[in-house]
């Protein structure tokens, strides 16, 4: 027995609950719009927690992302970030990380140079902004400080030993150790479970006590990303105090904490910020009318119908459901927006997986005009008040270019700016 259809109205309907969708809602709220956001779990769950702006361009690692952006504009004029100025991108980026900080997850502000974010295999990646819980690791690597990295019995896919061995040449003062996590003896443990447990003082104390005897002069201690879920900065501070050294987190293989942390942070904070958020519901259908769009969603017990003056599409790619494919062609899932693509799938992927040029399929997607409105084959906007942002956009390869967060945040910023203007 369903309860019938609930109807709501909003100025801007954001479809998608990834970084782009959440960033769009944040910016739209800041611009004073009435926002409703819909979607379902997606690729954000798999983030390392690092926010990249542009780490690789022209197949090379770039230390200066701003200069790299200048080169990007020259070399890839159709890249979604190429139409935006560095100042706009910086404003967007800092706006997003500041908002995250206010919600309870501190991030470093965008600097002039990329940081070397630590990865679990004992290598580093170029990234622009890192969670406060991961910052000390970057310093430790830079200074070659005496550091102890710890992993835990029963934790799949994170090896402190591998971290140590692979960093050994660059970081000789690095050591590794293994512990049993307090209260998690003889069992498989997920980082999420450890993180939640670390939100209690009893576990914080027990873990600190287990770590202290292993220090042996270490100035830094690295842990897999488990320092709490919804108050990581507080957990970090308390654990540092209890152990007496600097602590840092290292991202782990999914299912990992940083993505869950972001998702729960947004889900917690958005209702308080005044955005209507339905993180459980996928939009089933959208119809455009004269004054805007009607969105149809199906909840477990009731259907939802949303009258929106404007729509921002941030549904991501295949993993998040924004794009799909059959054996022969790609399509956009919700509105069947045109995707310019080669005939057949022969050209989608290169022969070599790690070909530094990346796979052409990653650059296929929704094409937009300068105000981030999806365009049809004739080059005209599909609808005056339909906007798109994030990974669904064409002409980018965010995973290879290390520009996922930058792309999501900057395009969300500009798309909401355009939406605000369109709404008058």
């Amino acid at each position: 027995m369903k309860r019938g259809t609930r109807r709501i109205e909003t100025q801007l309907a954001v479809i998608g609950t990834g970084i782009a969708g959440f960033a769009a809602s944040i910016f739209a709220l800041q611009r004073g719009l009435d926002v409703a956001q819909f979607g379902h779990s997606g690729a954000m769950a798999y983030t390392t927690g690092y926010l990249d702006l542009l780490g690789v361009h022209d197949q090379r690692v770039r230390t200066d992302p701003w200069a790299a952006l200048d080169d990007l504009r020259r070399d890839e004029p159709h890249h979604p970030m190429s139409g935006l100025g560095n100042q706009t991108i910086r404003t967007a980026f800092d706006g997003f990380t500041d908002a995250l900080g206010e919600m309870g997850i501190g991030y470093t502000r965008a600097g002039e140079r990329n940081l070397s974010g630590l990865l679990p295999n004992g290598i580093a990646k170029p990234t622009l902004s890192v969670p406060d819980t991961m910052l000390a690791g970057i310093t430790a690597l830079e200074t070659g400080a005496r550091t102890l990295v710890i992993d835990f019995d029963g934790l799949q896919g994170f090896s402190a030993k591998a971290f140590e061995v692979n960093f050994a040449e660059r970081w000789p003062a690095l050591r590794s150790a293994r512990l049993t996590f307090p209260g998690m003896e003889n069992r498989q443990v997920f980082p999420e479970v450890l993180a939640r447990s670390l939100e209690t003082r009893a576990t914080q104390d027990a873990l600190a006590e287990a770590i202290r005897p292993l220090l042996n002069g270490a100035e830094y201690v690295g842990l897999p990303a488990i320092l709490g879920m919804h108050a990581p900065d507080a957990v970090l501070a308390r654990m540092q105090e209890a152990i007496g050294v600097k602590l840092f987190e290292i991202p782990t293989i999914p299912p990992a904490v940083p993505g869950i942390r972001l998702r729960e942070c947004f889900e917690r904070a958005f209702p308080e910020m005044g955005a209507k958020l339905e993180p459980q519901l996928k939009v089933a259908n959208v119809e455009f009318g004269v004054s805007g769009a009607t969105l149809y969603l199906h909840g477990p017990m009731e259907d939802l119908q949303v009258e929106a003056s404007a729509v921002l599409l941030a549904t991501g790619r295949f993993l998040s459901g924004g794009l799909r494919s059959d054996q022969h062609r790609l399509s956009e899932t919700l509105l069947d927006l045109p995707i310019r693509q080669p005939e057949g799938r022969q050209e989608w992927f290169r022969r070599e997986y790690l070909d530094p040029r990346g796979h052409p399929v990653n650059r296929l997607g929704v094409e937009v005009d300068s105000t981030f409105r999806p365009i049809g084959p004739d080059g005209d906007p599909v609808h005056e008040k339909l906007f798109a942002a994030g990974a669904i956009l064409a002409h980018q390869d965010w995973a290879r270019q290390r520009c996922g967060a930058g792309l999501a945040i900057a395009t969300a910023y500009s798309a909401t700016e355009a939406a605000t203007a369109a709404l008058g």
Partner: protein, 534 residues
Amino acid sequence: MNAMAKRIHEADVLVIGGGATGSGVMRDLALRGITCLLIDRKDLNAGASGGNHGLLHSGGRYAAADAETAAECMREGEILKRLAPECIDDCGGVFVAVEGDDVDFAARFPEHCRVAGIPCEPLTAAEAREREPALPEGIIAAYAVPDATIDPFRVVLENVGHAERQNDSRYLPHTEVEAFEIVDGTVISAQCRDRRSGDPIEIRARQFINASGAWAEKVARLAGCKDVSLLYSKGTLLISNTRVTNGVVNRLRLPDDGDILVPGGTVSLLGTSSVTVEDPDGVAPTIPEVDRILAEGAAMLPVLNETRFVRAFSGVRPLLKSAGSEADGRKANRGFALFDHEDQGLTNFATVAGGKFTTFRLMAEKAGDLVAQRLGNAEPCKTNVEPLPSGDALRWTEPGAAARDWFKRSDPTDMILCECEMVARSAVDTILQDAPGAEDHMSLKAIALRSRIGKGACQGAFCSMRVTSYLYDRGVYDSPDGLRLMREFVQERYKGVRPVLWGAQMPQAELAEILHCGLAGMDLAADEDGGTGK
């Protein structure tokens, strides 16, 4: 390490080629008390033995064109079912003709089977669909035959494992023959190279058996023998995410693309194409091949249009050249030949080539007879009576075996490393300890070959990272080389994934790339290796 220090090995017999035939020869000889060294330039089943359906032919497939091969398949199949039941799923098979297929060919099928000695039971369309609910309406003819499936990896591992337990016989992977030292018509040694370290290896033996499958002509030429002439027929197959049918389903027509669907435990294999290629090296499935196979297969089993495929792979059939075979590999002789090379002036070198996986035991028996006779060993072949035992470290290639084992033991500290196929640390531990090649440096790829790791829906996206972590934990890896091996592994997996990337496999591939690039930095590291990791 001193690169100049040449390692020297000695054995009664050197067997070249770690496929079904080579490992079969090794076991055959070991059971006669003869000590062998088995080498492969890669690892076990690197050629056609690992690149096939896993179909234990009743012979029905060849009944119309080659009654002799058909009969041989039938006889050998029965022997293997009796002696190696743990490697075999005796699931039965059907031949079906659908609308548009040749009615007369279908009608002659029972007679062809009778001639070859293959039991063949006619089925009504309803009976056929009862056996195989995935079959469509509109079947015009159907017959049941005693087809079965065989795990080619398990067979080869068990062959080697059994041989190693008989005497000092040993297996050396990654060992490639570069030259033979021949004195007065006698091969004294094989000059080899360790393909990973680049170190030279000399292997001295009294007898040399070339069982290198598609590479047999090349190896024979190294010994100066020009009498082996092979045709290379590339066959491509698709692997589905789940098992589509209960038994083997064959299209009742002359062999063509996409007309056999073979269960492989928890998956199904659809194939195969047959394209003559110049070189047995470097074959990979292509998108047009995959599309053609799928279109043909779906005509027989429409459900394949909605099936998630996780991988495609190609093998090269080494076929003996015969008249008319140049143009069409399917017309080539599916039989095998034993070359004693005496007319090439050699007295202790032989090549066994051609044939089918189903007949590998017979091929090994014939080669074994020759070698035993040359060595003055009067022991008869025992592989036709001695059951193939089951080794604890060798049973992990069977789909679901690791999962069941883990579940039954219910040890909460035994972490699962490959979630799709549920392969736990304990299984990896036994492989590291006891599987053929274990005394050697065992990489992720070698462990995957000996288990189901990397074979599930994620095709190694996650388990490559988890197993690599574990190998570092265990000290198997102790340098950044472990990361290079991980990259190699996922690149190799990708070659099979690429042609089936659509539908449900696209999100999987996207996630894999996010992990491999974003979290593991493989693309940047590969770049440092020098481009594409080659």
